[in-house]
Symmetry: C2
Subunit: 247 residues, 2 copies
């Protein structure tokens, strides 16, 4: 196995570029053994592995492994505790449009925070949803922060990215009911919804909520009635309550 001890090495420098979205066209970085094992299990193409020398034995079956110093690993990782391994994984994006004729989908309309995006995808996975669609302006799902919150759920369920307009058009074409979450009480409390087998649940931007266009196009506006004095719920918490109630 190759050993690299200098941060100036071009292989290291190129890998580190993947911290920036503009370089993540075809591949992205993951950190930690849990995500690495999820990637292997999912059959993802692992282009390069950076690991501490002590893990060399564990990685003999992976000729793409490069052994590095702790300093390099911390530099490549985003967290304080990359747990000895960082890898470059090839993107496998869903190229086609999802089949919205049936299934339970989560649509994220311009959700900004990577932690919220990742957590909601992880929760959609746990709730047995068919897939997640993120709007073009939502946070990138391949940032280290999103990947950390997502905990490998992008290996379990398909994730699509498209504009709000195309999503609405596809949902309408397939007669998939759109349930859009709003803070407004001028909508149905989720506990009063009729049970649906197939639907798309829309969560809006952290500050603005769903767009007027979405509010207009939705088949049903939904809110979560609150008993206390809190003005709102964190968007990922609201999504969790709704997804588990509806599934």
């Amino acid at each position: 196995m190759t050993i690299i001890t200098s941060k100036a090495n071009s292989v290291v420098k190129n890998a580190k570029k993947l911290h920036q979205k503009k370089y993540r066209k075809t591949s992205y970085l993951i950190e930690g053994w849990h995500l690495f094992e999820e990637a292997v299990q999912a059959g993802a193409k692992i282009e390069k592995i950076f690991a501490l020398v002590e893990y060399g034995d564990k990685l003999v079956d992976y000729p793409q492994t490069v052994l590095v110093t702790e300093e390099i690993l911390l530099d490549l990782a985003d967290s304080q505790t990359p747990q000895g391994i960082v890898a470059i994984v090839q993107k496998e994006e869903e190229e086609h449009l999802p089949d919205l004729s049936r299934g339970k989908y989560l649509f994220l309309e311009d959700v900004q925070d990577p932690g919220n995006v990742g957590t909601m995808i992880r929760t959609a996975d746990a709730a047995g949803f068919s897939g997640v669609i993120v709007s073009s302006k939502s946070a990138d799902i391949y940032s280290l922060k999103t990947l950390r919150s997502m905990q490998g759920s992008h290996f379990h369920l398909p994730i699509y990215r498209m504009s709000v307009e195309i999503f609405v058009e596809e949902a309408k074409k397939n007669h998939l009911p759109i349930l859009a979450t709003t803070l407004s009480q001028n909508s149905k409390d989720y506990r009063e919804l009729a049970r649906l087998e197939d639907f798309a649940l829309v969560m809006g931007n952290e500050g603005q909520g769903i767009s007027p266009f979405m509010a207009d196009q939705a088949d049903q506006l939904v809110h979560i009635s609150m008993k206390g004095q809190a003005e709102s719920l964190n968007v990922a918490i609201a999504a969790g309550i709704l997804m588990f109630y509806l599934s």
Copy 2:
């Protein structure tokens, strides 16, 4: 109003010390207008206000206001967008033990992440819970990060801090059922729980879950059944699903 333009000013330096837990014995920092207004509305004692010059007019009724430069404000704040105001607020901790003879309580057992602690308190507020008890080893609720996630909910509902042992002792003494959340399937799914008016819901540490002591002392172990391939839910999401289901 006093104007301070130097970061070396002792008033600024002392305020900045409140970023460190050891200095937050009697007071803490808040940032942003939303939290400031919540503090005013709650009648909290506001010891000092740091604001940009342009907000001087809005703060004429507050002689404790000091006008500062943007550089100083960014230095005092933790976020990139302190929205023009940072204030020192006096702590009003619940000194007495909570009355656990009735009510819905959330107990956080050694939850480490400030964002998780803050989000769960905000959700407990929204769900109409009576109060939140954090174990001695949970994250400090007065860090800027916790306060940001909490969104002022500590002004709405009482928050207590005590050891796991004392909490269990008090709950038992008051015959308050303890529902402890676990990942183990060897427990009841939350949808099968009998409806309870009064209870304490226990959420555990992010990595370890609840302690063996808690698992042993709980009246009921609870889990959230999952349909997908995700191994677990984020603790704050799980707490949100459970609190809204139980309330």
